[in-house]
């Protein structure tokens, strides 16, 4: 009964936001141009990094394309869901409209995280998938069902880690309204995920695994897709994903206990 109700609500949410966004059709052209431009620039910089050599941190050109593709995919996911929803939490806190959200007979984290769906991230999603497919095909790695399955699961857990980080940072605005741009900082530092983690100096690698887990978002899933995934990295990623999802849930409940509404 309950999951059914949530699914129906979600459908209504997304249809209504698609309808309101379709008013701005010129945006589609602009977004496509932005995605193409960004992708061309990233591939260009990658080619500069590869000039005169055949590997970057032990990754070949085609394998590095898979990493870049997954980055583009997750960036599209961010534009589709994370950015339009989570960046509004601070406005709700500032203007007191969070009260109305809390009064609704629906889970508040669900409402705040999934209320809007922006179609403008879709060009990024598609471009990312194309890039991943191209890299996989050219790399010559045997394409096996189980590595694709594992890779897919790890991409989803990477997205879950990304979501939990964004949501927890956005939830901080319950205490500090002025840190509304903390999520922007996150977005700018996640750019590091464009390249395989092993391309960085050892100290930075540690940061990218434990502090700012970009390794689990692009490098680990790419390895699995290329059939070179190791079970302990996969287990680590799944553990990190479920841990961070639970942590974000707990953190939101904790934050709500400190929420005092705008007028009180």
């Amino acid at each position: 009964m309950m999951p059914h109700r949530y699914a129906a609500t979600l459908r209504r949410f997304w249809i209504s936001s698609l309808e309101s966004e379709s008013e701005y059709q010129l945006n589609l052209v602009l977004e496509c141009l932005a995605v193409v431009g960004n992708l061309a620039g990233s591939v260009f910089v990658l080619s500069l990094l590869f000039s005169g050599q055949s590997s970057l941190g032990g990754w070949s050109w085609d394998e590095a394309l898979v990493v870049l593709g997954l980055y583009t995919l997750l960036d599209g996911f961010t534009s589709c869901l994370l950015q339009p929803n989570l960046s509004k939490i601070v406005n709700h806190v500032q203007q007191g409209t969070l009260d109305f959200v809390l009064l609704k007979p629906i889970d508040s984290q669900f409402w705040l995280s999934l209320r809007c769906f922006s179609p403008w991230g879709c060009p990024g999603l598609i471009a990312g998938l194309i890039l991943v497919a191209t890299g996989l095909r050219q790399s010559g790695a045997p394409i096996q069902a189980h590595s694709l399955l594992l890779g897919g699961a790890l991409v989803i857990s990477g997205a879950a880690i990304l979501y939990s980080l964004w949501f927890s940072l956005a939830a901080l605005s319950i205490w500090f309204v002025k840190v509304w741009n903390a999520t922007e900082v996150l977005r700018y530092t996640l750019v590091a995920g464009r390249y395989p983690v092993s391309a960085y100096p050892p100290a930075l690698r540690l940061v990218f695994v434990f502090v700012l887990p970009v390794a689990f978002m692009t490098t680990v899933p790419s390895q699995a897709l290329l059939g070179a995934g190791s079970w302990h990295w996969a287990a680590g990623s799944l553990l990190m994903a479920s841990g961070s999802l639970i942590a974000s849930r707990w953190f939101w409940r904790f934050a709500l206990r400190h929420y005092t509404s705008a007028s009180s």
Binding site: Y24, L26, N27, L30, L33, A34, G37, N38, G41, F44, V45, L48, L49, F50, S51, G52, Q53, L56, G57, F176, K178, V179, W180, N181, A182, E184, V185, R187, Y188, T189, V191, A192, Y195, A199, Y200, P201, A203, L204
Partner: protein, 269 residues
């Protein structure tokens, strides 16, 4: 004889008051500005990748060279950030621009002063981050000569002015369209990839390098960063390019402001 002098005095008083009020205002938002400063770490991340790649070594760039270049690019980026369009768009759409128009001061000066004040607020945070870098690896920092520092800061201000004018021009589109900021996002792409922020211009293939140098973008990062990091640089060419682009964009901004303000019809105008 006295009129131009008193005008100058009045202008300097306005400038002083504008800057000090905007500085006080920005200080209130220092936590936010610290976070914005943190979000400018891209050149440092790129330094990490370039160090591991070895592509720069083949071009004769030593590790030290590379480190100084990207740290300089990081500083240049910190002090040439322009966010005019986001504020201006909101002010146009919500009609906040109307009261500014009543004052005997071109409203763009107010935004310009806000940017300068924001830069002043950033100084301690950038110094802290540089100290942090020195703590991680003392080789990342170096001491530029006085001439390098002076010329570098001049080029940095030129770069900031150029970026401000370019964004002012796109901001004027707010008078015609509700989504001018989306267009500005497109302009960020060539800035990102052609300015030398993510890859030194020396590593570009010759044809692309020539193309990049024909655009205003390398003057925004590559030129000041090269001066600051003490690399060989074509000084007169760089300053000339800054000057030409500013002279080109300045009148264009003025013209589109005059045309745009006639169309402005937000609340209360």
């Amino acid at each position: 004889m006295t009129r131009p002098r008193s005008r100058l005095l009045a202008a300097s008083r306005i400038a002083r008051i504008l800057l000090s009020t905007q500085y006080a205002y920005m200080l209130e938002y220092r936590a936010e500005i610290a976070l914005w400063a943190l979000s400018g770490v891209l050149p440092l991340i790129m330094l990490g990748v370039w160090q591991g790649s070895g592509a720069a070594r083949q071009l004769g760039w030593s590790a030290e060279h590379l480190q100084h270049y990207f740290v300089a690019a990081f500083v240049v980026r910190q002090f040439s950030v322009v966010w005019l369009i986001h504020v201006f768009e909101e002010d146009v759409l919500t009609g906040k621009l109307s009261p500014f128009l009543l004052q005997p001061l071109q409203p763009l000066w107010r935004y310009f002063a806000a940017h300068l004040a924001e830069q002043a607020t950033r100084v301690p945070f950038v110094l802290l981050m540089l100290l942090g870098l020195a703590w991680i690896n003392p080789d990342l920092l170096w001491r530029p000569t006085l001439a390098e520092l002076g010329l570098g800061i001049a080029a940095l201000w030129g770069a900031f002015l150029l970026r401000f004018l370019l964004q002012a021009l796109t901001s004027m589109l707010c008078f015609w369209s509700e989504r001018a900021a989306a267009l500005d996002r497109l302009l960020v792409i060539p800035y990102l990839f052609l300015s030398g922020l993510v890859a030194p211009l020396d590593t570009f293939p010759p044809a692309i390098k020539a193309f990049a140098l024909a655009t205003p973008f390398p003057a925004m990062v590559d030129f000041p960063a090269r001066i600051l990091s003490g690399q060989s640089v074509n000084l007169s060419g760089g300053f000339f390019s800054l000057l030409i682009w500013c002279l080109l964009l300045g009148p264009l901004c003025w013209w589109s402001w005059v045309r745009g303000i006639r169309r402005y019809g937000a609340m209360g105008a």
